[in-house]
């Protein structure tokens, strides 16, 4: 079951904040977040396991609402290097990691 991401695309100026959402109709075991720059491999950002904990490092953090099967990725004080496509991936238990269609983030000076 492919998770649904929103928005599909967002444009930010340096220093602005953004939230990317990921939702599923299935009960989730974990949610992964990856960033892919053009022509490069997806890079792992973080994983959230069921339990609702919020994780993060530096200015990128995420939350996981297990009851709503939703996760949100928070980018604060965005930098030019944050530009790329963000994918959430979800696991329902003994299932493979399934990715959403992605959210294209563009940070401009």
């Amino acid at each position: 079951q492919q998770p649904v991401q929103s928005p599909q695309a967002v444009i930010l100026r340096e220093g602005e904040d953004a939230v990317i959402n990921c939702s599923s109709s299935k009960a989730l075991y974990s949610v992964h977040w990856y960033r892919q720059k053009h022509g490069e491999a997806p890079v792992f950002l973080m994983i959230l396991l069921k339990g609702g904990e919020q994780k993060g490092h530096e200015k990128i953090s995420a939350s996981f609402n297990e009851k709503k099967q939703q996760s949100s990725l928070y980018l604060t004080a965005s930098q030019l290097s944050y530009s790329g496509t963000y994918f959430c991936g979800t696991e329902e238990g003994n299932t493979p990691l399934v990715f959403g269609k992605g959210t294209r983030l563009s940070v401009i000076a």
Partner: protein
């Protein structure tokens, strides 16, 4: 520490031909998953190998097959290539079978396959 290595980086094949893509996982990882990524889309799961066996399979035809070797490296084979098989093929390695303690996937840079 070498990450995930994929070869070749680019490949052009004719419709109807067969192709083999290769992947060496990150050191310490024992699970390999293959994904197909069309332009502007998210990666689509093809299959996953763990302990040299196909453990999970996505919605792909039998033309797509794979193998995992004792050293955890893996191959993806596609027979009877179609124009629609043109895509970026990504290999991702991880530790442990999906569904257990999952620590994130490490992706290779992919193989760009073009079918003409």
């Amino acid at each position: 520490d070498a990450g995930v290595t994929q070869s070749p980086t680019h490949l052009i094949k004719t419709r109807g031909q067969q192709v083999t893509l290769r992947c060496s996982p990150k050191s310490g990882h024992d699970t390999v998953s293959w994904y197909q990524q069309a332009l502007g889309q998210g990666p689509q799961f093809i299959f996953q190998y763990y302990e040299e066996e196909e453990r999970q399979r996505g919605n792909f035809p039998d033309r797509f097959s794979g193998h995992q070797f004792p050293n955890y490296s893996s191959e993806l084979n596609v027979n009877a290539l179609l124009l629609g098989d043109s895509a970026l093929y990504l290999c991702a390695s991880s530790f442990g079978r999906t569904g257990g303690a999952s620590y994130g996937y490490t992706f290779g840079s992919g193989t760009r396959l073009t079918v003409v």
